[in-house]
Symmetry: C2
Subunit: 202 residues, 2 copies
Amino acid sequence: MERICGTSRIAGFRFSLYPMSDDFISVIKSALNQTDTSKVWAKTDHISTVLRGSADHVFDAAKAIYLYAANSDKHIVMNGTFSIGCPGDTQGDTYLSADEKRINEDAIRSLKAEAPCQFALYPMNEADYMGLIMEAVDIAKAEGTFVQGVHYASELDGDAHDVFRTLEAVFRMAEQQTNHVTMTVNLSANSPSRKKPKAGIK
Amino acid sequence: MERICGTSRIAGFRFSLYPMSDDFISVIKSALNQTDTSKVWAKTDHISTVLRGSADHVFDAAKAIYLYAANSDKHIVMNGTFSIGCPGDTQGDTYLSADEKRINEDAIRSLKAEAPCQFALYPMNEADYMGLIMEAVDIAKAEGTFVQGVHYASELDGDAHDVFRTLEAVFRMAEQQTNHVTMTVNLSANSPSRKKPKAGIK
């Protein structure tokens, strides 16, 4: 089977932002409006938002939206699925900017937020998919963000910049090794039921 | 490769309930408390809740929790992943009740809620996974709940009972044909950005 891999492909992230607040509309709109989405194709419908473009710019925009929402100080969640290489995907509805400079990074570098996360990696039509999932866990351990495996997911914790760097490294590792990869993420900030960070987690 | 399929296996659903309300804690707790979870193993952590047991009882509890939360009349979302047959799964943390009677169905049958939904089916290590996804779409069309494909997902709409019946039929179709299946669902009730239901959708 031909392998079509690499970061020149269209990546995407379909996600929802959930502010646990009566004021949820303004938190969502503010986070989306503060984020520069000029290097991705973005569309919001009544259930979710999709970002499409190069992996660089999709992860850049995703992290920016999360950080702006978390800095509302409301309990917010970003829950979604990263995807690359779906055989049914089209070339439409996307920008593949030749420019790799992450357009939000300068503005968000100094923003802080916690990012406890449960994620799951799904390499499709891949006999060794459990091997890739084990590699993902090893990446998270090396990044210092791994907490534990739970049923159907792996749990991360740490600063949002560290957690998003882990997620992007996992996604890139997998998409270099197999055609079609999806990865679900569930990131939570400012939850009142938040456990105290475990020792060793920044 | 040996195929290990069938509904005697442990199914699971890791999900989060997101009430877009200052009062989110009581909406979550109320929906969980109103649901009879005696036929599933259930555990809530600071990010999500996992239900484990037979597919019958996992879907019964999931639908009940959604209906109770939606009947708070707040904008609520249930977002999660159904799973069966993960090679790394254990026999622990589960109940496989011999009794197939759905313990919540009588209490929730008369409850109504809309359930616009985006879902994605991930049959793992399956060369024909796109074929199974096409079968899923055909099931939804036959159930009258299919709206459209969107990037990375399929969109359903209709009454919660119809949408959950569709999701369960899709999950069962796939898990009869391959070992390990996951399915993400994002169900939304009472959203202010909700479009008017399309013609033909109940």
